[in-house]
Amino acid sequence: MSAMNRVAAQPLGSRCRAWLGTTALLMLTALPLQAQDLLIRNATVHTATARGSLTNTDVLVQGGVIRAVGTGLSAPAGVPVVEAGGKPLTPALFGGITDIGIDEVSGESTTVDSALKLPDQPLRPEFDVSLAYNPASVLIPVARLDGIGFTALGANSGGGFIAGQGGVVRLDGSADPIGPLALYVRLGAPGAELTGSSRAAQWMLLEQMVSEARGRVPADSPHALLTPAGRATLARYLAGQGRIVVQVDRAADIRQLLRWAAREKVRIAIAGGAEAWRLAPQLAQARVPVFVDALGNLPTSFDQLGATLDNAARLHAAGVAVSFAQRDDASHNARKMRQLAGNAVANGLPWADGLAGLTRVPAQVLGVGDRIGTLEPGKLADLVLWDGDPLDVGHYAEQVWLGGRAMPMRSRQTELRDRYLAPPTTEPRAYSR
């Protein structure tokens, strides 16, 4: 991994009431660290709550928390003011289910910690990728620069269809996940590869693991699949503590999954869900949210013959909570999430639900909705000011605040950009930074 120091979060100085242009931000980095207080004035505030979108609205942040959202708010003494000029202000966005901080260069195995590869013990639900999380990853400023404030660390399958667990991290450089872990499971053809070449075997093995976790199989059984820690972990999910996120696409597999989840009374979510629209009413009734791959419209596999760009819109119309998830290289390209939402909107999802799918819905589904995901008093001040419609790739994030602190709008990529943007001199570019 290339050396790139995590840039310490810098606050706005109280003297800075000026518009947050690039120059102003560069200047800010020299200012002393201050409390996480801030008044953002005259924004178009997209709350991602029932209040919807509010024009000419102010947001007051104190101690890193949103204190007030309204008009005519005044800044307490010493609190810096940002004039938003009517631009959109949103909660910081969800980066998807990613390997940010656990996969630096996907092709280099020494930098990748997202999958457990123990061929003899493939079923280890207790595996928790959060323990490998590196908050100094260069992927974090890259994602944050484009408005991403939090992500779910997803365990990848390295040999077992029960991939393991991961937590939710805020991309402010903090070291640990917030909120509960989720358990990641892969079903359908990708899971069949890992379960004796039949998707029927997934259910057979899952049934057995449930029996073990519920204590119906003696711990010393020679046929046990799970370790004691694995039993304890699975038992927690079977008791309704934590969400099981299932990557699955084919409608028939989703139908089996809904039956299983109802029988075992577990809380699930679906990721991918190419054919989820075909079971939209059942998913709505069972209150199962779906992380939709909103750019997936090709029959990439025989599990995805029903893939359509209408998936998100159809699910939403039936009452399913919709968020988004990318299938390929979700980590380095976490910033692509808003393109998924924008394209879902272009294909029939209401705009507010496109934004909710990037904010409120994933935060709630992943058990951190009490702190992040909406722009309302009491929530952490994880905010993004945009130069235009945040769901439109033709616009960019002008400023990101996490916990009320203005994040430097820099990444290793902008440093490379600036090095090569400058006209050449007689000195090699290695001397410029």
Binding site: S2, T22, E104, V105, S106, G107, E108, L139, R250, A251, E275, W277, R278, L295, G296, N297, L298, P299, T300, S301, F302, Q304, L305, G306, A307, T308, D310, D328, D329, S331, H332, N333, R335, K336, R338, Q339, G342, N343, V345, A346, D387, L391, D392, V393, G394, H395, Y396, Q413, T414, L416, R417, Y420, L421, P424
Partner: protein
């Protein structure tokens, strides 16, 4: 009712606009010729739209007339021919058809089953003898999806496992039963080459044979081009020797250009050296691009474009000076070491020098459906860096620059009279998440209509699938 033009008429049309084909060198004779024939259509007048011509010009409140499969006129208040279909362009944007210079549609089709995994001949590091067109499955549903994204032509390339992967083919994005019926008439072939990690990983890392390093890569290219140079020398017609009474009869072949047995691999490399086949090189790092430029000088071939080229911004002046295009993603990066220095401003920085040639490419069945959105990202990121790029300039990245790199810029890639009627009508500015291609024309024929499912092609594979939406 659609009627196919007679073959004779089709040929006549092409001879009007296509440059008269020089007698093909024996290295680029085509025993698998195009059978593409445009479908005859009534003239179409698109009225009162925002027109990006693809040449860097924007015309507001302008009309576009398609007639006999060609762009007949572009400008304000064109007279409506009596027999024309009039399309209201109010609020719409009209652009040339988008061209993707880097696609694996058909050779890595959907669904991604092993039986159709035909994109990489990973059996030797130099497979200049293989032709991607012989792997194309025309029923790939990805073609229709790309069409709905406004893509009217594409180059289908072999993959990047090999130093020299083989010939690429340029296709018109029309539904067809054979690839020959999609083959772009008169388009030169591409030659796919690859730098860096992939060949050395597949061969040295995977099979324990050369190349196993980047220096092994370069030795491999050089050996291949040395063979090709010798082959050209052997195959160059020699001056007939003066007949002497004591000479025997002719030996060797009758044309006097005996080069021994024909070699498909060397045919392709020789065609590249002679400029009849366009060289397209998968190459990420700036230093490796510089090495490949030196290689091209060593053997006297021209590089049409570096593909992926995530570090092209580090030598954008040199690329422009050498007339080499950069076929680029908006922001893909980091999945392997040679992609680690990718930035969101690569396209803008490659576009910046005089005589530059920036192209937005996909290398992806998803990306090809929204190349316009990739360009939108590049524009937005450039704006963030203080560089303003007008939509009419960015449109060149998707159309004319792509056509230039493929050698079809005289036939398509811009809305200029006489060119093929390859046109997209968008619901608004194409540079947005919300942009949707509403109508797509190829050679003046409406091949896609968002409002009319009967005007949306459906591959044989998707027919009768119960799960289909």
């Amino acid at each position: 009712m659609r009627t196919r033009l007679t073959a004779g008429l089709g040929l006549a049309l092409f001879s009007l606009a296509a440059p008269s084909a020089p007698a093909a060198s024996r290295f680029v004779q085509d025993p698998y010729p195009s059978t593409y024939a445009p479908i005859a259509s009534a003239p179409v007048l698109i009225h009162n739209a925002t027109v990006l011509t693809g040449t860097g010009t924007r015309l507001d409140n302008a009309d576009v007339l398609l007639r006999d499969g060609r762009i007949a006129a572009v400008g304000p208040a064109l007279p409506v021919p009596a027999d024309a279909v009039r399309v209201d362009g109010q609020g719409k944007w009209v652009t040339p058809g988008i061209i993707d210079v880097h696609s694996h549609l058909g050779v890595y089709p959907s669904p991604g089953v092993s039986a159709h995994s035909d994109g990489n001949e990973m059996t030797a590091p130099v497979t200049a003898n293989v032709w991607a067109e012989h792997s194309v499955w025309p029923q790939d549903p990805g073609f229709a999806a790309a069409l709905a994204g406004g893509v009217t032509a594409m180059q289908v390339l072999p993959g990047s496992a090999n130093l020299v992967g083989g010939r690429g083919v340029t296709l018109k994005n029309v539904p067809a039963t054979t690839y020959q019926a999609m083959k772009f008439p008169g388009a030169p072939w591409g030659l796919k080459m690859a730098c860096g990690e992939n060949p050395k990983r597949v061969y040295g890392g995977g099979k324990g044979v050369a190349p196993g390093t980047r220096m092994g890569n370069v030795a491999g290219y050089r050996a291949a081009f040395i063979d090709a140079s010798e082959y050209i020398a052997k195959n160059t017609p020699k001056k007939p020797k003066k007949k002497r009474w004591f000479s025997g009869g002719d030996k060797g072949d009758s044309a006097g250009d005996a080069g021994g047995k024909r070699d498909l691999k060397l045919d392709t490399l020789a065609g590249a050296i002679q400029g009849d086949i366009r060289v397209h090189i998968h190459c990420y790092r700036a230093d490796e691009m510089a090495t490949m430029l030196d290689l091209s000088h060593e053997f006297g071939f021209r590089i049409a474009a570096f593909h992926h080229a995530v570090e092209a911004y580090k030598l954008s002046d040199r690329l422009a000076a050498e007339g080499v295009c950069g076929a680029l993603w908006a922001d893909w990066w980091g999945f392997k070491m040679e992609a680690f220095d990718g930035i969101q401003d690569n396209i803008a920085l490659v576009d910046r020098p005089a005589n530059s040639c920036a192209i937005v490419h996909s290398d992806s069945p998803e990306g090809i459906q929204r190349l316009n959105q990739e360009a939108a990202k590049a524009i937005a990121n450039a704006r963030r860096a203080g560089i303003e790029i007008a939509p009419e300039r960015a449109m060149m990245w998707l159309t004319l620059n792509a056509a230039r790199s493929l050698g079809v810029e005289k036939q398509t890639g811009s809305l200029e009279p006489g060119k093929m009627g390859d046109v997209v009508i968008w619901n608004g500015s194409p540079f947005s998440s919300y942009a949707l291609a509403e109508k797509v024309y190829i050679d003046g024929h409406a091949v896609y209509d968002r409002q009319d499912t009967r005007r949306q092609p459906l591959s044989d594979f998707m027919l009768g699938q119960e799960a289909r939406p």
